[in-house]
Subunit: 248 residues, 2 copies
DNA sequence: GAGTGGTCTAGACCACGCC
DNA sequence: GCGTGGTCTAGACCACTCT
């Protein structure tokens, strides 16, 4: 590889801090610096590329955020060993996800009623058993085909009617917001592997025993009170998660 | 809530940029600034807290990285609407994960042979069908109980023997490194929901039809050549992923 | 003590949005 | 034109590591 001195083009539209980050990244990815190697000190980089130390630091912090390098005070800046055994999976909301795949998503509302909270829902929503809560069953479609089956309980302490059109194209946070008139501010989700029972399989129009992802979701308002809870089942034969590349 | 003016303690061990970030975060979380609201301008914050604009910017960029706020050039800095419908799941390497749960993990090597590459493996590893590759089957245990079943193919163009102890406690990246004498630099993983067949269920000592996570992994070296490929099955009845809280 | 990264300042100029 | 955030500089002092 060419060891020609790379320089910063100050007339470029790309800001210098970004150019330097690119140069260093390229040098790391090409193997010029290998995991564990010490990078030139900030002072050296500053001098070599004709940039102030603050600018050099900005380049380095960008690479550090991406996980390519790390710094130790008093010692230096080093090339990271890649963490190849850690996977990060991002699961977007259904409509976003389907849109990204180029599919047209839609929602079929199967049920929406005010019901007395069953044991499990009462516990999760921290309301007395039997308290009136909103229960919703929906099927989420991609190009007309059921891909996910969504069941949710929403806290419902107001006496106002259910407006069906509010439940059609909205994710749980929006539903909670409209129905409870509270703003959810945090959520907690867990993902499990499961197999579909008869009822679930019917809703998804597949055979019972088909594998599925089970996404459980709890929403909280700013007083950390749970305001929504439920699960969404994603067909395992049509749905998979891919690990995300680094931030960079 | 108290609207007492918060000040920066310059004698604190906590650096000013961090103190300001905490103040702003608290003001956002308490609802003093709500999603969509405009924060005071950098100049105002700089003046109010007696910090240089660069320091104020550092506080803001920390909050921005955490997703609490975002900036628009020429307009201002705004409080983000929380993305409650996006879940981020991080899957650590098996031993790390089990250690975090307080379990003692171990590995049982079931098979490790040099074999002619079958069709699928040859395609994934980009070698001719029938080329010699290393095939490994392992069972990953937590407190002595099988939790995952791991099958991997490794590129193997050297003529050296297999050292069994190299396969015992190592994740795929280390195995590739030791056996192929190449440094893997990137990986690609996908996660699926599946059910165990007879052979897999036997390896995990559960009933066939039990749900499981299927993690497929491909490793690449710095020339983007695939050097390792395989799957790991995690018992769905014992394994779940939790969404991570924000970086902050 | 010399070298490293961590923090901070007080300016400067620019690009963008809005009136 | 004015206010906003985006970038950059040339210093400064500190905390830490190594020798």
């Amino acid at each position: 590889m060419k060891n020609e001195k790379m320089v910063i083009d100050k007339n470029s539209f790309i800001p210098p801090y970004y150019q330097l980050a690119q140069i260093l990244e390229q040098q790391i990815r090409s193997g010029q610096y290998r995991p564990g190697d010490t990078l030139p000190s900030e002072a050296e980089l500053s001098e070599k590329y004709g940039l102030s130390r603050m600018t050099v630091r900005r380049s380095l912090s960008q690479l550090a955020r991406a996980g390519l390098i790390y710094s130790e005070q008093g010692k230096g800046t080093f090339v990271s060993r890649p963490r190849l055994d850690r996977a990060v999976f991002v699961m977007e909301e259904f409509h976003t996800e389907m849109a990204a795949r180029g599919l047209v998503s839609s929602v079929r509302l199967m049920e929406a009623r005010v019901v007395p909270a069953p044991q499990k829902a009462a516990t999760k929503l921290q309301v007395p058993v039997g308290e009136k809560v909103l229960y919703i069953r929906r099927s989420l479609l991609a190009d007309g085909e059921p891909m996910a089956y969504d069941r949710k309980y929403l806290r419902y302490d107001r006496g106002r009617p259910i407006l069906e059109n509010e439940l059609q194209y909205q994710a749980l946070p929006e539903m909670v917001e409209k129905h409870g008139e509270v703003l959810p501010v945090s959520s907690q989700m867990t993902l499990q592997a499961t197999v579909l029972n008869e009822e679930e399989a019917r809703a998804l129009r597949v055979a019972p025993g088909t594998p599925a992802f089970l996404l459980e979701q709890i929403l909280f308002d700013n007083t950390e009170r749970p305001v929504g809870w439920g699960w969404c089942l994603y067909r395992g034969d049509r749905y998979q998660l891919s690990s995300q590349s680094p931030i960079f």
